[in-house]
């Protein structure tokens, strides 16, 4: 076994929460607003319920093969189709970490225009390489410290923007455009929860594997609750049409804060907290990627892989998209299908096969 560390169930849930919330804030909001307008919050609730299917599938899969990561399960128990799917998963992890790195850069580029892209990429990859090198326990602990601070900041933000210009009646009428926009929005939310697939690499190392399903559902529901603020706030302030056109709706919301003469211009703090969130997210996927490759190649340790992979990620994130429009198109057209496939469809398929397979084996042994 490559990874020796153990993290608690809560830490695992928290990792999933931070990782999902940060991309939800930065980019998924625009997608959901675009499809569902003022009914986005309904789409979020429905999407979470759908997304829980994938989460439960991943957790059950991990329980069926205790102590094995997703990649190990695929490479050891599913013969050659498993190996192909395993490689697909590794590519998927690579894609997600590249996406997160690029997203981090794009967020910074909105405020620090003169700084070149590679500078941001270097900074974040040095930081995350260090975290990944130190292993899972460090990552879990860092996140356990940072997430409560992020949440407190988020709640403060809701109260600070709660001035007379925040008009929650903008959320009316409920289901005014019929059910189809909500369905589209909830599909993208479901795809978003597909990112939980990365937890397949983490869940074998939790302390109480029996409570994994509970942990997964807990993570999903908390993510939804955290996501309710950003999904209603920009619509209440800017109206549904304008919010859908914004590049970073929550960033605009933070810039709107003006409480008294002193408490305004929160942009830099928002960027700071995004940095922390992105750092956790990139580290998590980076860790999953390097551990997965290490296990696929049956190496004694994943650590020699960290620096070469950091190079690959850095280069990948720079050539990932030529411009922001291309990046945005990826989010609208490819992100959701890829995540639906990797996060829901394949895990459900795998768990069904595993159940049939295990039952047959039990019958044979009896």
């Amino acid at each position: 076994m490559i990874e020796q560390g153990r993290i608690s169930n809560t830490q695992a849930a928290m990792l999933a929460i931070t990782s999902l919330t940060i991309i939800g804030h930065l980019i998924l909001l625009t997608v959901v607003f675009f499809y569902s307008r003022q009914d986005s919050w309904i789409a979020a609730i429905v999407g979470t319920c759908l997304g829980l299917i994938g989460i439960i599938a991943i957790a059950k899969l991990s329980q069926c093969f205790p102590g094995l990561t997703l990649i190990e399960i695929l490479f050891q128990h599913f013969s050659w189709p498993g190996k192909i799917i395993g490689i697909l998963y590794l590519l998927y992890f690579y894609l997600m970490v590249v996406l997160a790195t690029r997203l981090y850069v794009e967020a910074y580029k909105k405020v620090m225009i003169e700084t070149p892209t590679w500078a941001f990429v270097t900074v974040i990859l040095l930081l995350t390489s260090f975290i990944v090198y130190l292993g899972l326990e460090t990552l879990g602990r860092v996140n356990q410290i940072m997430l409560p601070i992020l949440i407190i900041f988020g709640i403060t933000l809701v109260f600070l923007t709660m001035n007379e210009n925040k008009d929650y009646s903008n959320l009316l009428p409920i289901l005014g455009n019929g059910i189809i926009p909500v369905a589209k929005g909830s599909l993208s939310i479901m795809g978003w929860f597909g990112e939980f697939a990365i937890m397949g690499m983490i869940l074998p190392y939790v302390q109480r594997p029996k409570k994994l399903v509970k942990t997964g559902i807990f993570a999903g529901v908390i993510t939804l609750i955290i996501f309710m603020g950003p999904i209603t706030g920009p619509i209440a302030i800017f109206g549904p049409v304008e919010a859908a056109k914004m590049v970073f709706p929550t960033f605009s919301e933070v810039r709107y804060i003006r409480a008294g003469e002193v408490i305004n211009r929160f942009d830099s703090i928002a960027i700071l907290f995004w940095t922390v969130g992105s750092m956790i997210r990139i580290s998590l996927f980076f860790y999953g990627l390097s551990l997965g490759i290490g296990q696929a190649l049956r190496l004694p340790s994943y650590r020699p892989l960290v620096i070469p992979l950091a190079w690959l990620i850095g280069v990948g994130s720079i050539i990932f998209a030529k411009n922001y429009a291309e990046f945005n198109e990826f989010m609208f057209e490819s992100y959701v299908p890829i995540n639906l496939l990797m996060g829901s469809a394949i895990p459900i398929f795998l768990i069904l096969i595993a159940w049939i397979f295990l039952r047959n084996r039990k019958r044979q042994s009896v």
Binding site: V111, T115, S169, P173, P240, E242, R255, Y256
Partner: protein, 408 residues
């Protein structure tokens, strides 16, 4: 072990490279902070941008004894023209040796011609630029924006703050028609309402006179201080300016929207008998009623007011009298509401009240059918039923007005 420790020390040597500061550092003394922006559209078909550029080093001098080398202007007012706003600003930038910074822009003022013809292209620049904030006030002036920008701040450090505080801290004037850029964009993009915003004027045009103590001061080149004032509402239709509402009509609009606060209403009770009322709060509710033949909108307004001044010698303020005053106030409100409805709903056919929004929220599917004809006929043919409930709740620190020779 020794070797790794030595390598660690070698690594530490690289840390000072990180101390050189960040890439995009902007020192405040290198910034030319644009504080107010006026947008005009001139006869030649070009945008004309007038800006107030604050110089932080002069406004907040570092040394206690004031600036050391001579006295410089605290801000510059510059004008430039261009095919687009962005081009005009780039021309402006050529004449400024500092870096132009928009982060502290407080207000954008549109000249009448620019608002009538070029509102939509102008809005794009404002919502796209990274440094603009979503809570910049957006105002319109009759005539040229340059005239308003050329005034000088009297109560605040900068002109932008003066505009901003004018809308924020006004005690006896309604300011709810002033919108910031995000509220304006919200109304602008929705097909259920049309945007409005406040009108800014130089106060001398409104008959308010201001006189400074120190007339020789560098800002008052025209001989007397020019102060600014809010005056009425600018009404938009399909994104471009349609017309202006005067003070009474603005009242009517704000009654209907339930936004009127802190404004004075003078009730004229026959020859020289006047009661001035200050409006503390107002609320309104739209109840749409739709059949195949006609649409009806019931507007319920609730008003809370105080008595501010009484010039009727023998007025006895008991509950009956207050009731009578309430009825009279209601009449005035309905009259003002009708005036603005005649103008905006019947003449201009612009939905600044948000009637469409009320229908959409009530019956979204029916609204989809009504929306295409809303601007040409639908709104005009809608019946509006006005219901007002006024309540004068207090009369200050004094009950009946005092008269000469009153004591027994």
């Amino acid at each position: 072990m020794r070797l790794t420790q030595r390598l660690m020390i070698l690594q530490l040597l690289f840390i000072p490279f990180l101390l050189s500061g960040c890439w995009s550092a902007k020192e405040i003394h290198d910034l030319g902070i644009i504080n107010a922006l006026g947008i005009d559209f001139n006869e030649a078909g070009e945008f004309e941008i007038t800006t107030v550029i604050v110089r932080p080093s002069e406004l907040f001098p570092e040394s206690v004894g004031g600036p050391r080398y001579g006295k410089q202007n605290r801000y510059l007012i510059e004008t430039a023209t261009g095919q687009t706003i962005f081009e005009a600003i780039s021309k402006l930038s050529k004449s400024i040796s500092d870096k132009i910074y928009f982060g502290h822009l407080d207000v954008v003022v549109f000249g009448e011609k620019a608002a009538r013809e070029k509102m939509i292209p102008s809005l794009d620049f404002i919502s796209r630029e990274n440094e603009f904030r979503p809570n910049i006030y957006l105002l319109v002036t009759k005539g040229k924006a340059a005239d308003v920008i050329n005034t000088s701040p009297e109560f605040n450090k900068t002109l932008g703050l003066e505009f901003k505080n004018l809308t924020k801290s006004s005690r006896f004037a309604a300011t709810k028609m002033v919108k910031d850029i995000s509220q304006f964009m919200n109304d602008f993009t929705s097909n259920t309402k049309d945007p409005i915003t406040g009108v800014l004027m130089t106060a001398n045009d409104l008959g308010i006179n201001a006189k400074g103590e120190d007339q020789e001061s560098q800002y008052y080149q025209k001989g007397r201080p020019q102060v600014i004032s809010l005056d009425g509402t600018a009404v938009f239709k399909k994104g471009n300016l349609k017309g202006f509402l005067d003070e009474k009509e603005t009242h009517g609009l704000l009654w209907i929207k339930g936004d009127l606060k802190n404004d004075i209403i003078v009730m004229n009770l026959g020859n020289d008998k006047k009661v001035s009322i200050i409006i503390r709060n107002s609320k309104s509710q739209f109840i749409p009623y739709i059949t195949e033949k006609y649409t009806k909108m019931t507007v319920k307004t609730q008003v809370e007011a105080d008595i501010g001044e009484v010039t009727i010698p023998n007025l006895h303020l008991d509950s009956n009298q207050i009731d009578r005053l309430n009825r009279q106030l209601e009449e005035i409100i309905i009259k003002e509401e009708t005036t603005v409805l005649n103008k905006a709903q019947k003449d201009w056919q612009t939905d600044i009240f948000g009637f469409g929004e009320a229908i959409y929220r009530n019956q979204p599917l029916i609204w989809d059918l009504m929306a295409p004809n809303w601007g040409n006929g639908g709104l005009k043919n809608m019946k509006v039923d006005l219901k007002v409930k006024a309540n004068i709740s207090r009369y200050g620190l004094h009950k009946d007005p005092s008269n000469p020779d009153e004591s027994r």
